[in-house]
Amino acid sequence: MNAILNPTEKSQIHFGQYIRSGKNPPKTTVSDNTHHYRELVYSVIMDTMSNAYPILKNFLNAKEWENAVQYFFENHKSQTEQIWKLPFEFYEFYLENPFPTKKIIPFLNELMYFEWLEIEVFMMEDLEFLPFSEKGNPKTDVLIPNPEIKILPLQYPIHNKATKKITEKDKGQYFVSLHRDYYDKQVKFNELSLPFVEMLVLLNEQETTFIDLYPILKKYESDSEKISEQILEFIRFALENNLILGYKKTRN
């Protein structure tokens, strides 16, 4: 942009700053109506964030929630042209900036990311699905995973416990997956153990069969019969929950 702004450009910038902050309204031709723009824009931003972050909103009181949205909107220059992606910028903003509440929320960032991921996984562009067959042999066939999945490590059980009841005693290691169901395209959640996470990651990284999963469980269990049982249990669970779509199609 030119270093020297003309009065029209200055007025537009002033207007934008007023709309974001609610402070220092510009003089306009019908000054009584200037505030409508601030209110219209603010309500769009508020609705977007409230729909994206229902758990966080519910955890905070009304004033805290309003402050969080207003502080973000005033101090962040929204970059996306697609407003449904703005909640991601809200999450990113509070990774970098102190959240404007007195109380410390230890799980704030992971809660925000968890809520954003639900939107992202639902809306994200389609990934490529390898051809698969629902029938096959779990012990020998290549397992085809559902690629439309995100796995989130958590320190607090925000996925299954009311946030207002979470205390420091709950701190630990949790894993949640969010995936888009192949059939109905809805987002589903699963709590996973670490070995299950490792197996899912491997499936998504390379062609994997039963035997390739063995070394993962070997780290946690020495009895080979139990290992086999656990791998079969994993495959059954993953198929049932659409984390694995099926088996690689073999040519006849």
Binding site: P7, Q12, Q17, I19, R20, V30, E81, Q82, M124, K185
Partner: protein, 273 residues
């Protein structure tokens, strides 16, 4: 041709209940760009059934900082990918000071603004390889006004060679809020450039102010203004019924579309009616 804005809120009924029979549908590309999964499937079904018109939100043709080239390229790819019949936008700004504001803000009616808008339009038209179709905005106040709105619009259209989406509800809303004659205003528009018409309902806040909400049924004076516009145009221009909030039963929208078709037929085929 009479179309309707396709909304996620009524998608299921729209696709499967056959309660509504538009000749085309309109969507905002910003709501569908890069979207996969469930909505990609639904959107594909919609496109298989109806011709698609695009009506953008975030181009911000009145931005003092100019338009975003990468975004225009994304729009171009989207137009091609979807086989859209046309792409229209707003004669307003929604991005300033490098921040998107997600609303249609009125451009000051000044010579400096005209120069900037014309420059922006020429860049976009060059990138898209087609003329932009820009909608007259509704506004509740202006940052600056050196010239009248018809002068502002006419000079932009003339200098940029762009086309026009005439929103008759916006004309009505502005004529009410700013006390001018709506028909006289329409007569001053570059009517030979009008490629597309919008019509909608609005919300009367008080005796002095109407807000352009697209959240109510079309009122009679706005139907009347459409009739007047078509009399002036004397040719078929696609008309879109906009309904973004407070969405009624689809039968209500269907009957509004019927009324729009009746007006169109009456004006264009007076012998038949």
């Amino acid at each position: 041709m009479v179309g309707i804005g396709y909304r996620k809120e009524f998608s299921k009924e729209f696709l499967y209940d056959h309660k509504i029979h538009p000749d085309f549908v309109e969507v905002a590309p910003e709501n569908w760009l890069g979207v996969g999964g469930y909505w990609k499937q639904e959107f594909k079904k919609v496109r298989e059934k109806y011709p698609l018109f695009l009506h953008g939100l975030s181009l911000s043709i009145g931005s003092p900082e100019g338009v975003d080239i990468d975004f225009v390229k994304k729009i171009k790819a989207f137009i091609e990918e979807t086989g859209a019949v046309l792409y229209s936008e707003h004669l307003s700004f929604s991005k300033v000071d490098n921040a998107h504001l997600y609303d249609l803000l009125p451009i000051p009616f000044t010579q400096d603004a005209i120069d900037r808008v014309v420059e922006n339009i020429l860049i976009v038209q060059d990138l898209l390889g087609r003329r932009l179709i820009l909608e007259n905005a509704s506004y509740y106040t202006l940052l600056k006004q050196e010239i009248s709105e018809p002068e502002f619009i006419n000079e932009i259209v003339r200098r940029s060679d762009c086309e026009m989406l005439l929103d008759v509800n916006n004309v009505y809303v502005n004529s009410f809020n700013h006390h001018y004659d709506a028909k006289e205003f329409i007569s001053k528009m570059p009517l030979e450039r009008v490629k597309y018409i919008h019509i909608a309902g609005h919300f009367k806040v008080n005796e002095h102010l109407i807000i352009d909400t697209h959240g109510a049924e079309i009122i009679d004076p706005v139907y009347d203004l459409l009739d007047f516009t078509l009399q002036k145009l004397q040719r078929e221009v696609p008309i879109l019924l906009e309904r973004d909030f407070n969405i009624p039963e689809l039968e209500v929208l269907e009957s509004e579309m019927t009324q729009l078709r009746n007006i169109q037929n009456k004006v264009l085929n007076p012998m038949i009616v």
